[in-house]
Point group: C2
Chain length 468, copies 2
């Protein structure tokens, strides 16, 4: 019996181990979800450290050599399994989570995970990070645990790199990868677990990801807050000015109005367009699930095209003046906004940032000023879709669900995929089990119990496929 | 010697009493300023009650029959001096103050008053409410105290009505005035102390006040917060939509773009225009003092006209999405704004409110909704400028300063002036000693020591003029 045959015959035992251990797997996930690892808020730095330490301890318990390694920000957990011949994979996920505000919209404590039955009768794990990305991360770790427990070893050589600053545009990971290039770049392929399934029946691997440019602007007009009775009409109101600038970012047809914004944007190929049409994307359902019916992007293009293959400009936050209870007739001195751009293949983040800043500067009256803060940027990514690892992974995934795994795009941005390529020379396979209704970044974030359970089983299969 | 002659000969003694007692007058003002009577925030209700009780006790100590009388909101202090023949005045001011945010921009504790020397070498009292309106209120009470101390009595019959909800659009005062119409309406003229001097050398009485309509809107798009990577382009962003709606409220020429907004707005008379030109208003200085140089209102009109005689639309607050530290790539479910309109003579608040709401409704995509909150409204006021009380008050004021008192307009709104007329049948004289740089409603609010000192002396003189 060859090693590959041995792996295949072990598969049923490992899958049975996953099923038998599900309850304990869940308890371990809950322990991690209780740690408030909000990376963007310095008040939670100790919680981020605690999450990293907990994960490293778990991995050491599974026979990895694991440590929470320091950076100028939050730690990176790096772990290496026993050396062996054949494929060597580097698994990536992130243990940090988004802030929880507005807290009053959560039905339960965001850091006290609960298993609920949702309106569709599905069991779901509710907590911040349940889906993005602690739940997804744990599917892989628990798959390793099942292999170890059922067979005493892992089917391929496995390393992990688990980040703590994915939600805070953290700039510490690329230098960390540079500094550990030889160690981390020894793998053959990166596995990134931070994406959705195509639908509840269809697993998928994402090969196109939008890039990101994140900017914060603060508009200053008067040198102090003014009374709107005394100064209304005379003094420039920065709320009004900011609204006019934001309004000017989009054309009435939904396209972005910044000069040169589309210069480097190519139309997708007719082949890809046809393939995407074959996916049978339910545009009305996609919007309807979140209470909408009118697509907001460029007219004349499908919703799928506008989120996978067209850039966007989104106002993620906006504030100025008095926003508390009651009313205050103030003309504030300042108003500010957090604005991000999603980029597609070909667009250069710093060129877009510069064009945006010029657009804003050009619209300021002579007595007003603006300050810009750079919250990071990354180009879009296209993963080659003809490699052996992709084929093996598609095979592994297809075994777990009723439908064959498909290749998709994604509107989101996962900068690390670019860094794997640029710094470590590794292609990435983006495999995840989340769903579009998981409310990631929102109150009452959840992860389907089925995502967790089948996610673990799917990784068991994908690892077997790599060993075959 | 007639009573009038007797009053005139007492004047010097009373003024000397003001000067000798200034330090103690200041201590009493400080005591009141330390009370955190923020009326808009329910957390400070007990502080509002405490301020009312303190003022009532002070007035009782001066021989008034005074009490803090309950309303469904904060109390109204009503006080009556001894009955006597001749003019009977009803003095109005408010003891509540604006919120103090942003607190980090205050150089000292807003509720621990300090006497400072400002950049111009002037002594100023710094505290929330120092100018608006506790300092102004105390100028009158301290004038009464000086009359009582120097002569044993008050020169005319005096009642006071001191409100605690002026800064929170409180709707409890009009019913209170209705319920006590006979008692309060027995006066001959109302004196309202909540306005500015024309300039540091020129006292003034305001005869035109803008009205107010205050609205809050909340735009709802998706049923939950969304990830801008997953939904960016596809989902309507309420921040963007709100910005577009706000932007649509003003035309490029600075005029308000709501349909019918100017229908009931009359041009001011050539006489008034000429009189205002004679005031020598320093438009560049007015804007320059607050760091501005480009007037924001209707082009082709003077700044003075745009703030005294033209309506405005101001965005007093605006918020949506993530506004904390760091960055969050969210498309929020909702965004909101606090928007107020200043009205001029002839405009009907409810007609403007309805036109505004239609303007917003007309701009909503089919899958978005808006909710409106009414934060109050009042029409503009024009006080007749040919009465005997106005002439007497101008005479009294002119005695205290180098320049003769002038008649002015004001961009602000003082709803109680309309209520004095409509409910009690009383005209009002708007007399105040504040300055445009007092930073009312802003961090580091101040009141010039000279405003306080000469304000007390001016009221001593005005009361004498009413008795002559």
């Amino acid at each position: 019996m060859t090693a590959a045959t041995s792996v295949q015959t072990s598969l049923d035992r490992v899958l049975a181990e996953v099923d038998a251990g599900l309850e304990q797997s869940l308890e371990r996930l809950y322990t991690l979800l209780r740690i408030k690892s909000i990376s963007t808020d310095p008040a939670y730095a100790a919680e981020c450290q605690r999450a990293a330490d907990w994960i490293a301890a778990e991995l050491n318990g599974l026979g990895f050599e694991a440590a929470a390694r320091p950076t100028p920000g939050h730690p990176v957990v790096v772990a290496h399994g026993p050396k062996q011949d054949g494929t060597h994979v580097l698994f990536y996920a992130h243990y940090d989570v988004q802030p929880v505000d507005p807290l009053n919209l959560w039905h339960t404590d965001p850091f006290e995970p609960v298993l609920k039955t949702d309106a569709n009768g599905r069991q779901v794990i509710v907590a911040r990070g349940a889906s993005d990305d602690k739940g997804q991360m744990m599917t892989f770790i628990e798959a390793c645990r099942a292999w170890k427990k059922a067979t005493g070893s892992l089917p391929v050589q496995i390393s992990l790199m688990l980040e703590g600053e994915e939600e805070s545009g953290g700039k510490n990971l690329p230098p960390f990868m540079e500094a550990n290039r030889a160690e981390l770049g020894a793998a053959d392929i990166a596995l990134v677990c931070d994406t959705d399934m195509w639908d509840r029946q269809t697993p998928s691997i994402t090969t196109m990801l939008r890039g990101l440019v994140a900017e914060e602007i603060e508009i200053s007009c008067a040198s102090l807050d003014l009374h709107s009775g005394m100064f209304g009409n005379a003094a420039r109101n920065p709320n009004q000015l900011l609204a006019e600038i934001i309004s000017s970012l989009r054309n009435p047809d939904g396209s972005v109005a910044i000069e040169g914004f589309y210069d480097d944007v190519a139309e997708i190929s007719p082949e890809l367009k046809a393939q995407w049409q074959g996916l049978g994307f339910d545009q009305a359902g996609f919007l309807g699930d979140v209470g909408l019916s009118v697509p907001a992007g460029e007219q004349g293009r499908s919703v799928l095209e506008t989120i996978w293959a067209r850039p966007t400009c989104e106002i993620n936050g906006m504030s100025g003046g008095y926003t508390g209870d009651g009313f205050k007739t103030v003309i504030p001195a300042k108003a500010s906004a957090k604005i991000s751009f999603r980029l597609v293949s070909g667009m250069q983040p710093e060129k877009i940032r510069a064009a945006f800043r010029k657009h804003v500067q050009d619209r300021l009256p002579a007595d007003c000023t603006v300050s810009f803060s750079n919250h990071g940027g990354s180009p879009a990514i296209t993963v080659p879709d003809d490699g052996i690892y992709l084929r093996q992974a598609l095979d592994g995934l297809s075994g777990e669900w009723d439908k064959k795994a498909v290749i998709t795009g994604s509107g989101g941005s996962i900068p690390v995929v670019g860094e794997f390529k640029n710094i470590l020379g590794l292609d990435s396979l983006l495999i995840g089990f989340a769903h579009v209704d998981d409310a990631i970044h929102s109150p009452n974030e959840k992860y389907d119990l089925e995502s967790y359970h089948r996610g673990i089983r799917a990784w068991v299969r994908v690892l077997a496929a790599f060993a075959s």
